[in-house]
């Protein structure tokens, strides 16, 4: 189990760093900046030099990737209902992701921003719940059709 978690963490961290790099690169282009920046100014201002800012950004991307891929293990370890799994997954990921997003300076700390973030997350998880239910229903129908034969 520990081996499984470590493997999942490493995989997630690699994906996280790659995604972070591509997204920050895309934003640097979209905002028509003259130089590449790994994060918004409100985050960069905490650092005296660019290398440190980049290092901390990479660490944050890795942790975000690790968190996401490890919370996925929840789905494969318990006999919970789809609703319970979705809510627990939502709770853990939202809480951890919020901390990281605030540290990374993706948005300023305010009740409005956090609420908006919560709503966005909620919409994504509602869609995940609906897809999970539909997929499961489809699987069950297939199995039932086979049982009738």
């Amino acid at each position: 189990m520990i081996k499984k978690i470590l493997l999942q963490l490493t995989k997630g961290a690699v994906i996280g760093v790659n995604a972070g790099l591509l997204i920050s690169l895309a934003f640097s282009y979209l905002l028509k900046l003259n130089e590449y920046v790994p994060a918004p100014p409100r985050f960069l201002n905490h650092f005296h030099n660019q290398t440190n800012a980049m290092l901390v950004s990479v660490i944050i991307w890795a942790v975000i990737g690790g968190v996401f891929s490890c919370t996925n293990l929840i789905f494969s370890a318990f006999d919970w209902s789809i609703t319970k799994m979705t809510i627990v997954h939502f709770g853990i990921t939202f809480f951890l992701f919020l901390q990281l997003a605030l540290i990374a300076g993706w948005f300023p700390f305010s009740l409005f921003n956090i609420s908006a973030f919560f709503v966005e997350f909620g919409i994504i998880y509602s869609i995940i719940w609906i897809i999970s239910m539909l997929q499961t229903k489809k699987e069950i129908n297939k199995i039932n059709a086979r049982l009738l034969k």
Binding site: F75, S76, F78, D79, W80, S81, I82, T83, K84, M85, T86, W129, S132, M133, T136, K137, E139, I140, K142, I143, N144, R146, L147
Partner: protein, 143 residues
Amino acid sequence: MKVNFMQNEQLIDNLIVLQAKQMNVEIEQIIRNIENKPHSLTGTLNDRTLSQPTQNFVRIYTAQKKVFGVTLTEEIILNSRLYELEAILPDNFIRISNTEIINIHYLDRLELTKNGIINIHFKNNEQTSSSRRYLPKIKERLL
């Protein structure tokens, strides 16, 4: 391959005889299957020891650290642990949750509840529940 059944009332214990021109992989496989798969499970019911043919079991589950085997007529307490049974039972027995193994021969239908729990209905009207991650295995075994 021809299969014959011969009744012999003189026998004390049941005996399987396999005749072939030569030993080959197929025969070896058959012998291994006969030897390894338990044809009956032993347990207790009201402190009485009894044995039931494996295929009579509808479901086997753990509760209060005991393993219960449910047949069409009775429920007995089995001596083995669930993971041990999982390893030795024939292929039509599949795990459907952390605490339960079912015999798909008695499976009637599955049903998804509003919460996303999978209810399993058996032909003898018993019911139990499973979660999503076991569905692929159930489907595979039904093929």
